[in-house]
């Protein structure tokens, strides 16, 4: 392998050596990539709620409302992060397991896991491996409920990137899993959740 490494590096150097000068890295400010808010919001939470819906996710901050939504979707059995279980046990008529069993991949209709952050400007939910109790629990059920602490809402994408740390697997989720492969027609729920809910814990 080391010979291929050498070949590539020497080919790169041979290609670049003749260049009379090289392009400098442009200085750019974070404001450059922050998008227009398209609306006036009194708080990050309000903006996040608006942008989640814009991205075809759902916003929720009440346990009763969540229980209603789940029942309306015929989704009464699922998976929940064991650390979040005490909070969500009060969901009326809803049961869950706190250890993900792969044999039940098609039985879990919802999954509740922690979000590490949420991005107000884009309605994005951020999942880090270190905060996610089970990758499968966040991915395979039809409904994914990401529990977001209000204090973890950040305004912009650059701020979310600031919080990466050394986590090995970070996922930005902006909307439910979707495809438009068949004749450009939008269908939600391909391999991942068909319904993505951002649940704010105040």
């Amino acid at each position: 392998m080391s010979s291929d490494r050498e070949k590539i590096f020497s080919a790169i150097r041979a290609a670049l050596d003749p260049l009379p000068k090289r392009t400098a890295k442009p200085e750019w400010k974070r404001e450059l990539i922050v998008c227009n808010p398209s609306g006036e919001f009194s708080s990050l939470k309000e903006q996040l709620a608006d942008k989640l819906v814009f991205a075809s996710s759902r916003y929720c901050d009440s346990f009763d409302q969540l229980a209603e939504t789940l029942k309306a979707e015929n989704s009464t059995f699922g998976y929940c992060d064991p650390e979040l279980a005490p909070l969500f046990e009060k969901l009326d008529g809803i049961t869950f397991e706190t250890e993900y069993d792969v044999a039940k991949v098609n039985e879990y209709t919802f999954g509740i896991t922690k979000a590490s952050a949420a991005i107000a400007e884009s309605g994005t939910i951020v999942l880090k491996d270190g905060d996610t109790s089970s990758r499968m629990g966040a991915l395979t059920p039809w409904i994914h409920i990401a529990a977001i602490k209000e204090s973890d809402i950040v305004a912009t994408i650059p701020e979310a990137i600031d919080r990466f740390g050394d986590d090995p697997s970070i996922v930005f989720c902006t909307g439910p899993s979707k495809t438009a492969d068949v004749e450009g027609i939008l269908i939600e729920g391909v391999h991942g959740p068909g319904i993505q809910i951002g649940f704010i814990l105040s």
Binding site: T140, I161, I170, K178, V190
Partner: protein, 463 residues
Amino acid sequence: MKSKQKIDLVARDLTNEVHEANFIGAKMKSERRYAALGRDYADPDKLRETAGLVKQHTLEHLDKYLEQAEASFERNGAKVHFAFDEDTAKKTVLNIMNEHGCKSMVKSKSMLTEELELLHYLEDQGKEVIETDLGEFILQIDNDHPSHIVTPIVHKNRRGIAKSFEREGLGDYNDDPETITRRARAHLRQKYLDADIGLTGANFVSAESGRIVLVTNEGNARFCMAANKVHIAIVGIEKIVPTDQDLGLFLNLIGRSGTGQQLTVYNQFIGGPKLKDQPNGPEHMHVIFVDNRRTEVLASDCREILRCIRCGACLNVCPIYRQSGGHAYRSVYPGPVGAVLSPLLAGNRFPELADLPKASSLCGACNEVCPVNIPIPDLLLRLRDKAKREGAKEAMKGTPNLAMWATMCSQPTMWKAALTMGHTMNHIPTQLIPHPSAMSWQGTRKLPKFEGGEFRKWFKNRK
């Protein structure tokens, strides 16, 4: 139309159905792109120009950044491999599979694996490989090729897909797109669970932190890293950007440029094997950096094309692509980006694809929409020049011989005589000119009346 150029021949023979699917799909995405960028940024061009410079800078310091990326991945606990050519790249994948005792692979979309024809290679070696992107899965069961780099089955319609699903035993004929998607979901879910290795490409690589970035809407790349124990990321060396913060710039552009989404649904940042406490996901991560002639492109005067982030915007906006569809380009990368990249990546097979740079009206739309501001029309001209100098036959087809014209233009007396002659042209039916290209040109157009030849007189007598 009498053109002999291959791309014209393919375009001519497209069925109306396919032509319409290509045209409408491309137009729709172009319109969404325009709306999304205009809505979200006062000056989207500033983003494009900056992104272009960031990538150009990275490419012109690629030795440094590639070395940094390698060190960062190793620090994260990933294993780094290098593959100079196609063969080594494929063998490296196979060796990793064998080393971990893997028999079946789930893979997400990667144009690089199309370049390598990795799927067939692994199947020949007795491995099972499943494409998990819905479009790529359909191509796999149809033994077909992508016609677009973002929406690979834009050339197909629901009826054809329904028939393929029926043939593959995925249920009775049903052409409802939702049913098609649900059936694929159920079928592929089992494949994810059964597979022992997941393979992905990478849309970007951060040299600073040693992270690959994957951009998908379906979530299939997430699934390729959930139930299995080994993950391979196969990456072209041009995918590197310097820092994590730079990624924000590109992610804001790629979704908006390709499909008009503010962000693609899933942006994954993968820097190594899963954490110890995480019950699901790969315990081993392998990163394979592949050259496969990219350093040749870097050495050429078309190196700007390596900035490409494969968003597909130039395909969608291109009047030629809209008419011809992606298969007409006879290579992995279609459209304006493909007209530059495919001949370059073909190595000594350049002459076979040397006609592609001519498949452009040089209208400049591709440059205008490109999120990394690649001057595609300039690069097309450079490649036309290269084709001419190398005497590539494919590029000459359908091109009139201009030798007489050149002689006439370079001899003042002949030129003068020709201008006087011009007026007589008005009195003879030009359809009778026995030159094939003149005849074909006039099949759809009318030559205007000749009114020239007066300039010298005017110039001499002017006061």
